[in-house]
Symmetry: C2
Subunit: 236 residues, 2 copies
DNA sequence: GTCTTATGCCAACACCATTGACCTTATCTC
DNA sequence: GAGATAAGGTCAATGGTGTTGGCATAAGAC
């Protein structure tokens, strides 16, 4: 890298932009989030972000290691927002449920951004804080370490994976505004019933369900299975 | 669209390329898959694909509605490969397990391609065939329609979501070749133990587990929970 | 053998990320 | 306060990208 990036907390001299804006990592990420919301997930580019900030595009490279670095910072911001204000109650199952829904929800609050970041593991501080919280809940609940680690892994990946998937659907369907009915008409309803009997038989139910996230159901199934396992462990 | 795309089965005149290649949707998708494997998920471009096929980049627009259409076709191909050769045994739980692992595996066989496609729902024939199969297994097993639809949705989305997430990790870690040990060193191991006691306590277990997919565990938990629900339904 | 038109090719457009050289000015030292 | 240092802004250029409109040629219908 020709121009090494200075870490945010080591930054001393903040020279204002020609247009008078004083930049910061924070300001850039927030502006990027707003641009993503307004122009869609393909609407973020160094040039446009620079223009929105009143700065030359190349300035961004003083703050992030390329667009990819900026993407990771956005992901870190989202996961942090999910965690903000959360605290454990001591009831492991509802704590986990709450945490999962918060993380998922934080990403879905910015679908266009989530599409870019949700399937990226960053290893940054706030992401690690989430990991620590989940492991803590499970170990405190009485899961032995091997089980705790196994369930933690399934839980956290499930949350992020669904966030990415659901964000994709959300960002897309907002782009092409089709009503639920139209969605149904355009896909399942016109399938031949003799070739796809099961889809035909459950058509209405499918149409009603496929427009929502499956994450809450999948999460509850994971938690139910974890609880059964814990009781089996206690029983013997 | 200025130049409407002719559907593959309506194609009559197949004029060979200047370099003697006869194009087809099939050939283009297969070539794209090979390019993705060799050059990574960012290595697919109209120009490079054209060069690899011995054709002008703009020719691709006769076959696909832009690069996005090509991406969807690639996804359809992958899910089809997962289904090829599969048939139901009648044991619903192992059938679902097998199907999930096959779909997940088909995507992970081409991680660089899966990154682009796994979180995209195409509504194309082979994807719908997978939906029909899953619904069929659940309804035949005795799940009432509302339950069947609910579990189907969680199952299929979870499979695709994990495929996308795991593909991302796989495509990335192949790019930056770090051994498992190094991965561990570079992230968890250097965290202060007093601030992250749970991560510190389970460090070795985490390091061993995080390099594999959590999908099998998550899948088995979903199936276990489904089975419990089925027994509860039968019981009353 | 002639006609039609599907399909491949060419040239051009507007965008993109990234980099290296340059210059200005905020901050540190004395 | 004066001067030195270099952080952090700007400019210009490079080589990439998807996509389109116009053109020409050969494949297949008759």
């Amino acid at each position: 890298m020709a121009k090494p990036v200075v870490p945010e907390d080591a930054r001393r001299r903040r020279r204002p932009t020609r247009q008078g804006v004083v930049l910061s990592e924070r300001l850039i990420v927030d502006t990027a989030l707003r641009m993503l919301r307004e122009h869609g997930s393909a609407g973020l580019s160094a040039r446009r972000l620079g223009a929105a900030l009143g700065a030359d595009p190349s300035t961004l490279y003083r703050y992030f290691d390329g667009m990819d670095g900026l993407t990771l910072a956005i992901g870190e911001e989202l996961i942090g927002r999910g965690l903000d204000g959360w605290s454990a109650t001591g009831l492991w199952r509802s704590d986990l449920r709450e945490l999962g829904l918060r993380i998922h929800g934080a990403y879905l609050a910015h679908p266009q951004a989530a599409v870019l970041t949700a399937s990226r593991v960053t290893g940054r501080p706030r992401e690690i804080a989430a990991d620590e919280a989940v492991l803590g809940i499970l170990r405190t609940a009485g899961f032995p370490d091997p089980e705790a680690v196994q369930i933690y892994h399934a839980f956290i990946d499930q949350s992020l994976a669904f966030a990415a998937l659901d964000a994709g659907a959300l960002a897309l369907s907002e782009a092409s505004r089709l009503s639920d009915e139209q969605q149904w008409e355009s896909t399942y309803a016109r399938l031949p019933a003799d070739e796809y009997p099961h889809i035909a038989a459950t058509g209405r139910l499918l149409a009603a369900r496929m427009n929502h996230s499956a994450y809450p159901v999948a999460l509850d199934m994971l938690l139910a299975s974890a609880e059964a396992r814990l009781q089996a462990l206690r029983g013997r």
